[in-house]
Symmetry: C2
Subunit: 421 residues, 2 copies
C-alpha cells in the first residue's frame, strides 16, 4: 500500500524472481572469457519457474535460486527502484564462481589456482606450476591449521558482497540515472534447501512454524547500532564536522548547564553514568532520539541500506554515508531440518507493517486467514499478505486512518510477502 493509501507517492519497491546462475566458463577453456562482455553476463532472471537443478532448459550448467526482496526507500525512490531491478543479478553474479563448489559435497577449497573460477571440478585440468608441485610435501601438516569453511558461509559471503556491489553500482550511476535517496533492503534467497534471509535496515522477516515465531532478521537503527557508530566517531572525529559529539546524552544540553553533571554514555557503555558537562558536550549528539524518532546526526533513522551517497546533515557539508553500512546480516533457515505444513510461512515486511502490527499479531492473522481457505488453494497466502496490509493501514474515519483498536494506522508505505515454506 502506498503510504497507507494516504498519498500518491511510493517509496517501497519489491521483487520476486527465479534466477538461473550459470557456471562461469573457465578462462582457460576453449570458450572466450566473457568477463569483459558485461558485468551481469550469464544471468537470466525469471527465465524459469522449475526447481533448482544442475542444467537449465537450454542445457547450460548451473543452478536456480528463488528470490524475494523488499526495498523501503527514503528521500526518493531512485535507489529502491534500482535495487529492486538489480540486487538479485548481483547475487547471481557472486554465485557464478561457486557453481561447481556448491554442488560438490566436499569442503570448499581454501585456495584456487591462478585465474581459476569454476571450482574443484577444474582443478585437475589446470597444469601445476613449478611451485605448485612442491605442495604435496606440506599438504598434510598445513591441512590441520586450516579453518573449515562451509558451503553455507560461501553463500552468505556471496550475498554480503552482492549488497556491496549493488551499493557501488548505485554510487556510480546515481548522477547519470538521477537516482535519489537510499533504501533499506530485505532479501530472501532460497537455494539448495536453505533460506538465506539478508537484512540491511529496519524491515523484518519472521518465520511462523506451527504457530511458533522464529525471528529471521534484526533491525539496524541508530539505537541498535549505537556502539558501532560511536566507536567510528570516536576513532574518526573528523567525520562529525564540528557540529556533533560521539557521546550520547538523554537530552540536549543548554549552554547554561556547563559544569553541571549530566547522564551520558560512550561507545563502551550500555549503562549510563554522570559526567561534568564540558564545552564539547554542548555539541549535538551523534545519536539522538528514541525509538522511531532516533536519528544519526539528526538526519536518518536507519543505519544500514543501499544508496544515500549524497546525504548530508541539513545545511552543512557533513556526510552521513560513512556511518551507514550497506552490509546485511544474513540468517539461515534449513528447510530440510523440519517437517513443514501448509500453514508454515516466511513473512517479509517493511516497517510500515511492523510499526503497527507486532510479531504475535501477524502470526494471529496468518493463522486466522489461512484456516479460512483450503490448504491447497494457492491464493490463501496472497490473502494473508493483503489482510496484513489492510489491517496495518486501518480505515479512514473522521479522526484519520484508524486501526481496529482505534489507534492510528501506519502512515508509511506497507509491503508484505507471505511465502509458504
Amino acid at each position: 500500500v502506498i503510504n497507507a493509501g494516504k498519498s500518491q507517492h511510493n517509496e517501497d519497491q519489491a521483487c520476486c524472481e527465479v534466477v538461473f546462475v550459470e557456471r562461469r566458463p573457465s578462462p582457460r577453456g576453449r570458450l572466450p572469457s566473457r568477463e569483459s562482455s558485461g558485468e551481469l553476463d550469464g544471468v537470466s532472471a525469471g527465465a524459469a519457474l522449475t526447481q533448482p537443478s544442475c542444467l537449465s532448459p537450454q542445457g547450460r550448467k548451473g543452478f536456480y535460486f528463488h528470490y524475494w526482496a523488499l526495498f523501503d526507500g527514503h528521500a526518493g525512490s531512485g535507489a529502491a527502484v534500482m535495487a529492486s531491478k538489480r540486487l538479485h543479478l548481483h547475487i547471481c553474479e557472486q554465485l557464478r564462481d561457486l557453481v561447481d563448489i556448491l554442488q560438490d559435497p566436499s569442503p570448499p577449497p581454501i585456495c584456487l589456482p591462478h585465474d581459476m573460477r569454476a571450482g574443484p571440478a577444474e582443478l585437475s585440468r589446470v597444469p601445476l606450476s613449478e611451485d605448485d608441485k612442491e605442495v604435496p610435501n606440506d599438504a598434510v601438516p598445513r591441512f590441520h591449521l586450516e579453518k573449515a569453511v562451509s558451503h553455507e558461509s560461501l553463500v552468505i559471503g556471496a550475498i554480503e558482497n552482492a549488497f556491496k556491489h549493488m551499493d557501488d553500482q548505485i554510487e556510480r550511476e546515481r548522477a547519470s540515472q538521477r537516482l535519489s535517496g537510499g533504501c533499506c533492503a530485505l532479501a530472501a534467497v532460497y537455494l539448495m534447501g536453505k533460506f538465506y534471509v539478508a537484512n540491511a535496515g529496519d524491515s523484518r522477516a519472521i518465520i511462523i512454524r506451527n504457530g511458533e515465531i522464529i525471528p529471521m532478521s534484526r533491525e539496524f537503527t541508530p539505537e541498535t547500532e549505537r556502539q558501532r557508530l560511536q566507536f567510528l566517531a570516536f576513532l574518526r572525529p573528523e567525520l562529525l564536522g564540528k557540529e556533533f559529539t560521539h557521546l550520547e546524552f538523554p537530552r540536549r544540553i543548554q549552554p547554561k548547564e556547563l559544569g553541571k553533571k549530566m547522564l551520558y554514555r560512550d561507545q563502551n557503555m550500555n549503562g549510563w553514568a554522570y559526567k561534568k558537562i564540558e564545552e564539547n558536550d554542548l555539541k549535538f549528539p551523534l545519536i539522538y532520539g528514541e525509538g522511531k524518532k532516533a536519528r544519526v546526526m539528526a538526519t536518518i533513522g536507519v543505519t544500514r541500506g543501499l544508496g544515500d551517497h549524497d546525504l548530508k546533515v541539513f545545511s552543512s557539508n557533513i556526510h552521513i554515508k560513512p556511518f551507514l553500512s550497506c552490509f546485511p546480516e544474513v540468517r539461515v533457515y534449513d528447510l530440510t531440518q523440519y517437517e513443514h505444513c501448509p500453514d508454515d510461512v516466511l513473512v517479509l515486511g517493511t516497517d510500515g507493517l511492523w510499526d503497527v502490527t507486532n510479531d504475535k499479531e501477524v502470526a494471529a492473522v496468518v493463522m486466522e486467514v489461512l484456516t479460512s481457505y483450503e490448504p491447497n488453494d494457492p491464493c490463501r497466502y496472497t490473502m494473508v499478505a493483503q489482510e496484513l496490509v489492510v489491517r496495518s493501514r486501518g480505515v479512514l474515519k473522521e479522526r484519520g486512518w484508524r486501526l481496529s483498536n482505534d489507534k492510528l494506522g501506519s502512515g508509511d508505505d506497507i509491503s508484505v510477502f507471505v511465502i509458504p515454506l
Copy 2:
C-alpha cells in the same frame, strides 16, 4: 585448583565480599569534602554480613551489596591479584554518588546541579543560580524530549566504569607494584533484589533454575570479537605495525601463492568469499586460529580483561592493548521476578571449568550433589563447587590427568563459585 593440581603456579584469583556503600557527603554540606582524602575513602569492605539497608551499624547512610568475582590471570598473576583486592572497591566508589538516587523510586535525574553528588534529596537544599531560575519555564516541553534512564542502567554504568578505573589503576601502579600480565574478570553484584553479572574475558556465568540453564554471560575471544577488532585495525592500520593484515584467512598464505584466489573475510562479513592474493595479504592475519587456539596478533586468546598494558607481539614493538577492552558486558537477573527453591544457583567459573565441562554437565552435577544434602545444609553449595572442580581436573593416571570419560582433564587453573539464589 591450581593448574588442575599439575603445577605450583596459580593465576586464578577470587574475591567474595559484602560491601557497604556510604553516601558521599555533599561538598556544600557542613562536613568537609572527602574527595581529596583518598580515592577509596568511604568504602568499607567486608564490614558487615547483614542484608542491604539504608543505614550501616554505625548509623552511616548507604546500602550494602554482595559481591563475588573470579579473575583468571595470564602472563603472571599480578593483575589478577590486584583486581581481586580492588575491583569491588572501585564498584563501591562508583556507586557512592548514586546512594540517594538508587533509593528514590522516582526516575533518576538527567542533570544534577553544579558539584551535586548526593542525588535528588539534596536538590532542594542547593540554592538556585540566576540561570537555574529560568529553568521552570521550559521544563515541561524539555521533559518530553528526555530519554528515560532506569536505576538499573545506572548500576550497569557504575560497574562498567569501575572496570575502567580498575584497569587505569593497574596501568598506573604496574611499575611500582611490579604487576605482571593481565586477567579476565567475572563479577557478580547482588544489589537491591537484582544480580548484575559483569564479564570481561572468557570466564562464564550461568543460572540453573528449576533445572533450566540461563546464560548470564558470553565469552569475549578473538573469534567472538573478530569484527570489532578488524574494524579497529581497518580504521587504524598503524596499530598493526607492518606485520599484520586486518583480513582473516583460513590459513597462512605462502609467497608462492600470490595471484591465486583464497578465501577471506573482512570486518563487514560473516560469510567467506574468494579474493585474489596480493602482496599485503602475505602478512599475518590479525585474528588467527580456531577455538581455544584463536589469537589476536598471534599473542593473546582473550579480548577483554584488565591489565596487559605492556603486552607486545613477540620480538616486536607492536602493542596488543589497543585491541583489548577492559569493559565488561553486564547482564541483569531480577531475583524478585521468580520464586526460587534451594536448588536454584548462580555458577561462576573460569575457563578451566568450562573447557572440559559444558553447561548441561554442570547443571547435572549441581542437581546430583544438591539432592544428596539436606536443603538447609549450607555446605551443600560448597560441595557442588568442589565436585565441579574435581571432575574437571580429573584423576592422575598413567596417561596423564583423565576425566571420567577418559578424555584429558583441564590443564588450566579451575575456579568455581556456586551461589544459592
